[in-house]
Amino acid sequence: MTKTDSIIPQILDKYSTQVMKDWAAQISAVTIAVGDDLNEVGARFFTALRQGIASGQFDDISGPAWAPARGILEELSRERAIKGATPAQTATFVFSLKSPLFSLLGREIKDAPTLAREIWTATLLLDKLGLYTTEVFQKNREEVIARQQEEMLELSTPVVKLWDGILALPLIGTLDSARTQVVMESLLQQIVTSGAETAIIDITGVPTVDTLVAQHLLKTVSAARLMGADCIISGIRPQIAQTIVHLGVELNVMTKATMADAFALALRRIGKTVRDREQSNGEKKKPQDAAAAEEA
């Protein structure tokens, strides 16, 4: 059924101002709850709705005749999703049209079977529009969540240059396959650009190390080794050391308890050492001696 003999289009055309006014009153109840002005959107949607209804296609809102109405609903849902409104609040925008429309139909149609049929048609149509709104709303929320996850992934894997040839990778949060991939890629890229020969992977911020996390760590270490960089794993807390041994995981990598120890070892490997300032003052004045690292 693409075309109907429904009289809804005529009734809407005839009483559009009346319906619009009643609906505006209904919307303002929602408006108070959400705190933004829906009247302007409402007017535009009502126009688009009449355009869709005029096409007579009540059972299929995916056609071109309904494109303007869909566009307005999408825009509304997106705004609502960003503002943090609930799906119910968003869908009510469409459903609140039922009450003025039905009372109008009740007033205009005296024949009971016809009235039932017309109300049924209108219900189906508004339900579809309402569900469409909810769907788009949900999709937008999911997009927001996915984007946030991606941003967190980027934020949580910085590669820090500690010295010429020494990189540090402070890991924060649980290490799953997806994150290992990102960590590995950014570390290897940094090794290429900085020409580093030592990378310190600090796991102070990793809450638990199970066999899977250990495997991911070792994968990262192996990949860095293939690029010609040695890895040191640091920041191993006492509990984690115990867990690793209990699990029987073999970490065939240089490990250090703290980042400081790992850094000292890395400096020694590239032929630098850290000294107290008093000692070096006696020998020679070094202008850039803030970190007190100098050629051995």
Binding site: Q181, M184, E185, L188, Q189, I191, V192, G195, E197, K219, S222, A223, A224, R225, L226, M227, G228, A229
Partner: protein, 129 residues
């Protein structure tokens, strides 16, 4: 059939792989390289794979084999210039090339070979004392 050139720099052989490795070429390289090590009495072998975009498990094993063969012929092997994507692929394949030394580029590779050869000689000298 194309051949991979083997260049001699001092007592190090430099193999720069710049074409896509197919399996027959890999086997030919093993033959050529071992012959060249014996012929030139080289102490180090450097394999540059910086232009290789694809390294499969066969090539990975070949690198391992070359390192093992060179070691028997008393030459150290360093693989240099591996791309990040290749490194990740090899690790995912479970090939971490534990028997092979690696360096970021040719420069660092040469330094590493020098260091290893000197180290061996140093330890021999100490033994002689």
């Amino acid at each position: 059939m194309d051949q991979i050139p083997i260049l001699k720099i001092g007592d190090t052989l430099l193999v720069s792989i710049q074409v896509d490795m197919h399996d027959r070429l890999a086997l030919a390289l093993q033959d050529d390289l071992t012959a060249k090590i014996v012929e030139t009495r080289a102490r180090g072998v450097m394999i540059d794979i910086s232009s290789l975009e694809i390294v499969d498990s066969f090539i990975g094993r070949m690198l391992n084999n070359i390192a093992a063969m060179s070691r028997i012929l008393d030459a150290v092997t360093v693989v240099v210039g591996m791309r990040p994507a290749v490194a990740i692929t090899l690790v995912e394949l479970g090939l971490s090339l534990t028997g092979v030394k690696t360096a970021l580029n040719v420069d660092k590779g040469l330094a590493l070979i020098r260091q290893m050869i000197d180290g061996e000689e140093g330890s021999l000298d100490r033994r002689g004392e």
